[in-house]
């Protein structure tokens, strides 16, 4: 099988071209020694079956960024038969440098001048025939977004594969990668003789929009208004979808599965329904949110607004070691941590991404909000409850700030803060759907096994031994609670609540349900009992702990998948548990000391 590498600078529409020619058949591939996800797909090219790999966008073949190292590693380690180099037609006067660097590797190559539609509108004319002669590799203009000449590009690629019998020598590639070649003159020469650019540059419409969206006073309020609007869109639309999935799953359970399994022993029944089936339900609950999130994020990202967000909030974020794009993801984390973590992939610096992923789980997501709504209604008056909720949001922001400040030295960003502001563009519906679909499939493939396993584990802890009441003190969870009573009593959390916290590892949505099982009561009766058993200081301490410790199993698994490291997921768990304990301890002991 032939291997084709897709290369180019960031923002050239490389991935749009990849999606255009591969459709929904692309898969995330793992490569030895490479720590980022690379999309790959098999395509039929003339007589060849070829594997097309979408490499990360790079600026310079000899650069120092994480992505530039990935590309160098890939080109030396994997045998590449053809390089398809994608460049933005409107910026060919500077992007030709990368094509020249790549060409010097001696691997057969072709240059695709993308966004021909935009270049035409801007009055940029490129003599591709002459450029082909000068550059020595086939050059053609395409528009990946609208599909113009994409089939021609593939035909040309298949011809090149027919010809390419000589193998590029890996040692030679290595040598060329180390050599620092001077291509400035060559680039100047080719551009001079093949490209005609109008003097006046810059997109007039983009400039006009920027005047408003990046306005010194209006910019930030508009940014927050936009974020609020998108947030509401994702989560108000997502909620009924999640609810209907939950309703459907409950219906299948009561009407089909429970009668079917009625004759099985209680533990088999429990394992199948409360373990595996609930685990699948946990996974399913994320599907609508992930789709909606990426529909919206693709729009924000591809339109060019995400880079503008970085411009607007950089002054606020730089001190925390984060950047504006990370800030957008943290904000989205207040809806749901899982897609927000997946969304950090737009950040190309690994360390900054890890730092962002470390703080996202601290944002008060909608699942935690449900627990707090219940408990504040139980323990506080209607006047106090909103203030308590506000305090919890403030604590959430404070923990994010503290964590970022403490760990920014550990995850020092090595990449220069230089971002392109592309002109505003409308992504096509196809681009948006494809992204949403790819991300959901990614989540289901990578996360569902672990999530189901985790749900079964928590079920086992709270139900074994089978001859005692579920979630009671006599279960494994209860015994764990006793074991750690020395840790939890100084923060005012009793054994029953520890069991609820163990349930909370799965998902915060089930904490209230868990309390109902633990106390054997529901609704108003549960509220009354809890109001009797807990004073507000204990309740607050429990809420603070619930706010800060690990949000849910799906978040942990997503952290592990995105960072490709169990160690990092472990660090996140331990840090959040430690921080939760310290904050609850400080609150509880201070309150008691004050005699509250």
């Amino acid at each position: 099988m032939k291997r084709i590498a897709l290369l180019g600078m960031p923002n050239t529409g490389k991935s749009t071209f990849f999606n255009r020619v591969t459709g929904a058949s692309a898969r995330v591939g793992n490569w030895p020694g490479i720590t980022v996800d690379l999309m790959r797909a098999k395509i039929l090219l003339g007589g060849h079956i070829a594997e097309l790999i979408d490499l990360p966008g790079i600026y310079d073949l000899h650069g120092f960024s994480d992505d530039e190292q990935v590309v160098r590693h890939f080109l030396t380690a994997a045998k590449v038969d053809l390089m398809m180099i994608v460049a933005n037609s409107s910026q060919i006067d500077r992007q030709l440098s990368l094509a020249l660097q790549l060409k010097s590797l001696g691997i057969p190559a072709m240059l695709l001048l993308n966004m021909s539609d935009e270049a035409k509108r801007a009055g940029i004319r490129i003599n591709t025939k002459k450029m082909t002669e000068k550059l020595g590799v086939p050059v053609m203009q395409i528009s990946a977004k609208y599909g113009d000449h994409c089939t021609d590009a593939l035909k040309a690629a298949s011809l090149l594969l027919d010809k390419a019998s000589q193998e590029a020598d890996p040692a030679e590639i290595q040598r060329q990668l180390e050599a620092d070649i001077n291509i400035e003159h060559e680039m100047e020469d080719i551009v001079q003789s093949t490209v005609e650019m109008p003097i006046q540059l810059g997109d007039a419409l983009t400039s006009r929009i920027d005047k408003v969206l990046l306005h010194p006073w209006l910019g930030l309020p508009l940014f927050f208004a936009a974020m609020y609007g998108l947030f509401q869109f994702i989560f108000t639309l997502g909620k009924p979808l999640q609810d209907s999935i939950a309703w459907l799953l409950a219906l299948i359970r009561t009407d089909a599965l429970e009668p079917l399994l009625a004759s099985t022993p209680a533990w088999v029944n429990g394992l199948l329904l409360d373990g595996i089936y609930n685990g699948l339900g946990t996974v399913a609950a994320f599907v609508p949110i992930i789709i909606l999130f990426f529909l919206v994020m693709t729009m924000v990202e591809d339109s060019g607004y995400l880079s503008r967000a970085a411009f607007l909030v950089d002054a606020l974020m730089a001190k925390m070691g984060l950047d504006g794009r990370g800030f957008v993801m943290v904000l989205m984390g207040f809806g749901c941590n899982v897609p927000a973590l997946m969304g950090t992939r737009v950040m190309r610096s690994k360390n900054m991404r890890l730092l962002t992923m470390l703080v996202i789980p601290l944002s008060l997501c909608s699942a935690r909000l449900q627990v707090f709504l219940f408990l504040t209604a139980t323990l506080f008056t209607a006047q106090q409850a909103p203030l308590v909720l506000l305090a919890l949001y403030l604590v959430s922001f404070a923990t994010i700030f503290i964590t970022a400040t403490l760990f920014k030295g550990q995850y020092k960003n090595s990449e220069p803060f230089v971002l392109e502001l592309p002109p505003y563009r409308f992504p096509t519906a196809r681009q948006i759907w494809l992204r949403g679909w790819q991300e959901v499939r990614h989540f289901l493939n990578r996360a569902s096994n672990f999530i189901v396993f985790g749900v079964i584990l928590v079920w086992a802890l709270t139900h074994i031994p089978f001859d005692v009441a579920p979630a009671s003190d006599a279960t494994l969870a209860g015994k764990i609670g006793h074991l750690f009573s020395g840790v939890f009593s100084p923060i005012g959390i009793d054994n029953q609540l520890v069991i609820a916290l163990i349930f909370g590892f799965v998902a915060k949505e089930i904490v209230i349900g868990a309390l109902a099982v633990i106390y054997g009561l529901q609704g108003d009766a549960l509220m009354q009992l809890m109001a009797q058993k807990l004073d507000w200081v204990q309740g607050m301490s429990f809420m603070l702990f619930t706010l800060i410790y690990t949000p849910c199993l799906s978040t942990i698994i997503t952290l592990k998948n995105e960072a490709k490291s169990w160690l990092f997921a472990g660090l996140s768990i331990i840090w959040s548990l430690a921080l939760a304990w310290v904050v609850s301890f400080a609150f509880y002991q201070t309150a008691r000391w004050l005699g509250l």
Binding site: D93, E184, G219, L312, L421
Partner: protein, 80 residues
């Protein structure tokens, strides 16, 4: 009489254009800027400054770029 002045990119006023003289930054940033079109002799325009001492938006060729003021300070330019 030579009326041209040498200064740093961050001292341009919004709307003003200068010619890049020297990009005096470390190698990693130098490569990144070069790939984005920052090369000696090229014109660069300051489009706007971010609020609260935020980054600068500049235009080189057909590319708009944001960079922090500290980094822009190390790009020497000439205005006429």
């Amino acid at each position: 009489m030579d009326i041209s002045k040498h200064k740093n990119l961050d001292s341009l006023e919004p709307g003003q254009v200068g010619i890049i003289q020297k990009v005096a930054v470390d190698e990693a940033l130098y490569q990144r800027l070069a790939a984005l079109g920052f090369r000696a002799g090229k014109p660069v325009a300051l489009i706007r400054r971010g609020s609260f001492n935020g980054p600068l938006q500049v235009r080189v060729g057909n590319t708009d770029i944001i960079l922090r003021r500290s980094e822009a300070h190390r790009i020497k330019i000439k205005t006429s």
